[in-house]
């Protein structure tokens, strides 16, 4: 990366991101009913967004592994790293979500549609990693894991259709639902969007770092193999 781009990138992460946090924690006015706890919104929503992005990235690379022979080694570690970071962010989503749920509604877990979808995502990640470690002896490890991830990806749209029907008697979660932005004032909206943006860039940075490390490990391994 050119040094100018790198400067902008680091500026965004190391200067703007803390700035956004400060703004989220202090400056932005609080939501009407929730009080101070609404500030979790600016962390919870981006983290949930990123766990979905990781899933899509892992799925994309998994499909590409099966589709083309070229650059397979690279795609293998990219898919793995996306899944790895994905499960961490999913865990963060569940934790921030249940903290917020406890404060707002009095209980940590409620089985509403959003919560359920995130749990399912987490189960899929956990299964993926169980499969990956069980396949340790197998040469075809990444190929088989990719097929599993693709099948899991396919079931996601079906979940989206079913989930709203399954638990109909729950409290409405209009404020948590990130799509209903009409409940947010302009200042909150701005903070939320910048927070999402900055988190995405942060994720890109971490993912890039993980990939560079994996690429170096791969090169080192190839060098020792050649000797």
């Amino acid at each position: 990366m050119k040094s100018y781009h790198r400067f902008v990138f680091y500026f965004l992460i190391f200067a703007v991101m803390p700035g956004v946090f400060l703004r989220a924690l202090i400056w932005t006015p609080t939501a009407e009913f929730l009080g101070e706890s609404s500030r979790i919104l600016y962390f919870h929503v981006p983290v949930a967004w990123i766990s979905v992005i990781s899933f899509i990235t892992a799925g994309y690379h998994s499909i590409m592994i099966l589709v083309s022979e070229k650059r397979r080694n690279e795609r293998e570690y990219k898919a793995y790293n996306a899944a790895y970071s994905g499960i961490i962010f999913t865990l963060l989503t569940v934790i921030t979500g249940s903290i917020w749920a406890k404060i707002s509604w009095g209980s940590y877990w409620n089985w509403d549609p959003r919560e359920t979808s995130i749990v399912i995502l987490m189960l899929i990640y956990i299964s993926y990693f169980s499969l990956y470690s069980a396949l340790k002896e197998n040469v075809n490890r990444m190929g088989i894991s990719s097929v599993y991830l693709i099948i899991a990806m396919i079931t996601m749209p079906f979940f989206v259709f079913i989930i709203p029907r399954i638990y109909p008697s729950l409290h409405p979660d209009t404020l948590i639902n990130a799509d209903k932005k009409i409940h947010l004032e302009a200042a909150m909206k701005l903070t939320l969007f910048t927070s999402i943006g900055v988190f995405t860039i942060f994720y890109g940075y971490i993912y890039n770092l993980m990939n560079r490390i994996s690429s170096l490990e791969l090169t080192m391994q190839e060098k020792t193999n050649d000797n």
Binding site: L66, L131, L135, I151, A152
Partner: protein, 220 residues
Amino acid sequence: MNSRILKNIKKDFLIEFRNRSAVNISFAFAGITTLSVSLAAGGAPFTPVVHAIIFWIILFFSAMSGLAHIFIREEEEKNSLFLSLYYTPEEIYLSKLIFNIVLFISISVIVTALYLFFLQVFPVYPLLFILTVISGCFAIASITTILGAIVSKAGSGSSLFTVISFPILLPVLWTAISLTSVSIDGAGVQEYRNIVFLLAFSGVIVSVSYLTFKFIWTEF
């Protein structure tokens, strides 16, 4: 290709029939679980939703105990290389799929009969009930076939199979449970749409599995 698939299915049935232990154990598991539930319930009144949930849980675990066997046997008896030299991955996949569908429908017939009889459940909408069981079985069999192939290559056995099947079987279980509870107590609308949903899900899974099976079965 069709005759070759038939040959494969015939061979699988022949082998499983001669060494009946695996299939017998699956049927025995299904029967015993159903009986234990009815004995443990002891005539306690369950709501239709609870009946639906227990019924599909029994079917789920019967599937977990029996449906990966067809691939695990190939790996354990070291026949998989032999098989792959003479048949293409697509033919192998379709024959295993059909075997699993037949096996699971038979298991569900037994579970349904025992459950309805011992727990004295009489569905208000019998047609909906039967269609739900059949389409649910199709869906479960489709998913467990491809996942069974995946697990057979991992060598960890049935606990891994349960772990990886569960997230993917959830939509099937949810839909089937809600349909079954409607068909048992008659409350709510008869939503045949959900049956179409289950069949559509099976169709999508079968298509994707057909395309990706060779990546599991052979080293690519």
